[in-house]
Point group: D2
Chain length 148, copies 4
């Protein structure tokens, strides 16, 4: 990936998410996007006690929600702000128990087509080199394009 | 799959889930398991307004949570009640907008090994023949077995 | 799936495959499609000794090739004969050692969109109720459509 | 991943593959492993004309075979040389048409458990930064371990 500017900024997207969901979106904090480039986004989620499983492990669906959001936002960074973008599929692999109260997900776009945008996500708590999960998936852009 | 009795019943598992999570587990109702056989489970989730996206579509992570639970419970049906069972990976494919207030997930086990139990899930609202999502994944059983 | 006629027949597709690949396509026999309906196809592959692993197990990539072909042909059954259809992704899960000399794959379409056609495949040797693998994936149809 | 020595070297594994498969393993050349570290392997495949599709694109099952082999060998690098290692599942995403006559696959291990070893693969022809496919999957180690 070369590096044009992202087609939506972290500030714009955080504002849009607050407008749509208020302070609570699956327990995600309202200012959840901390880095955004063309084809890359980093999100941060404050984990609530309700999202923990026995042993204080962050639940699998919570980790999935973070990965799903990171892929979605990374797709917007190469397409522009359009909430009609749809996740078509995602595969998540859980690698380690997710211990901690703050969950990060870094999404990266691998290919951009008119019908499908594909990317990967790494989810981690304290140490990005020891991810708690990895995921890969695709989003289908809305129908605005005329050349597909 | 032939049909021995499930190694945990719906009544036992619903009681265990209430004990662990009270009435609220990702918004799942406490009596969420309506059918349970050896290798098959059917779950029902009352969807809350917070789990809806614009257009009154049930959010993707909510559908994932239902599929993840259905696979997990189906694994318990062939292994016995042990909450240390872990999902290792799951792939979900979103097929149609998930409209409705009640979300069902039917999990079926495809193979049972000492290291890995594998299954598929169909998620639907009104019509099981028009699923909103399908998923497939594996769980790793706890270490109690001595022959693995 | 209701049941209109398939948009390409087994006879037409087998003829096309012979024209393109002759008698050998990854070791697939030339008349490999034995059943074809709208949204469903059954393929049969004669496994060659080169496709076996130690223990006379059919190799994983051979099983993948059968699943990939079955998904592709099932997509053609709902779209029409167009070899520019592309597989975008596939997840395969190996369930049992694939013993035998004849490998079948049954593909079924789950949803048809203008940008993505999604389906599942069951691969088996002797007994369809004891599959050696299951797979799910999507194909991207060619760009002929004007409304996407 | 820190960096102990790989539990099998490229030389040892290439010798083993030649012994088992001769010069031909799905068209893979006999000296296919060019780099091997603990948890990382790079493979190279000379693509034969039979593995090309119309438009001189390397076929999807050929790319899958390369990814499957790279994951398998990467698992051996952290486990030791044991051909009873089994791939349990793999998801492959095709990103770009695979043009070229030489196909590389770089496999990296993400987590090592006694029941499951998990990794990702990047497949490319000329340019590793523009992969033709990515894959992620798991292998189940043989039963020799006593602590699982």
């Amino acid at each position: 990936m070369s590096a044009p500017a992202p087609l939506v900024t972290a500030t714009e997207l955080n504002a849009k998410l607050r407008e749509l969901f208020g302070a609570d979106m699956h327990g995600l904090t309202s200012d959840m996007i901390s880095e955004m480039e063309y084809g890359m986004v980093l999100t941060t989620m404050e984990v609530s006690p309700k999202q923990l499983r026995p042993g204080k492990i962050i639940s699998g669906p919570t980790v999935f929600a973070a990965c799903d959001a990171a892929l979605f936002y990374a797709c917007l960074s190469v397409y522009g702000l359009d909430m009609m973008m749809l996740t078509s599929d995602m595969q998540i692999r859980f690698l380690r128990p997710a211990k901690g109260t703050r969950l990060h997900a870094r999404g990266r776009i691998l290919s951009v087509g008119s019908k499908l945008i594909t990317g990967q996500v790494v989810a981690f708590t304290d140490d990005e080199t020891k991810p708690v999960a990895v995921a890969q998936g695709s989003c289908v852009p809305p129908k605005k394009n005329t050349d597909s």
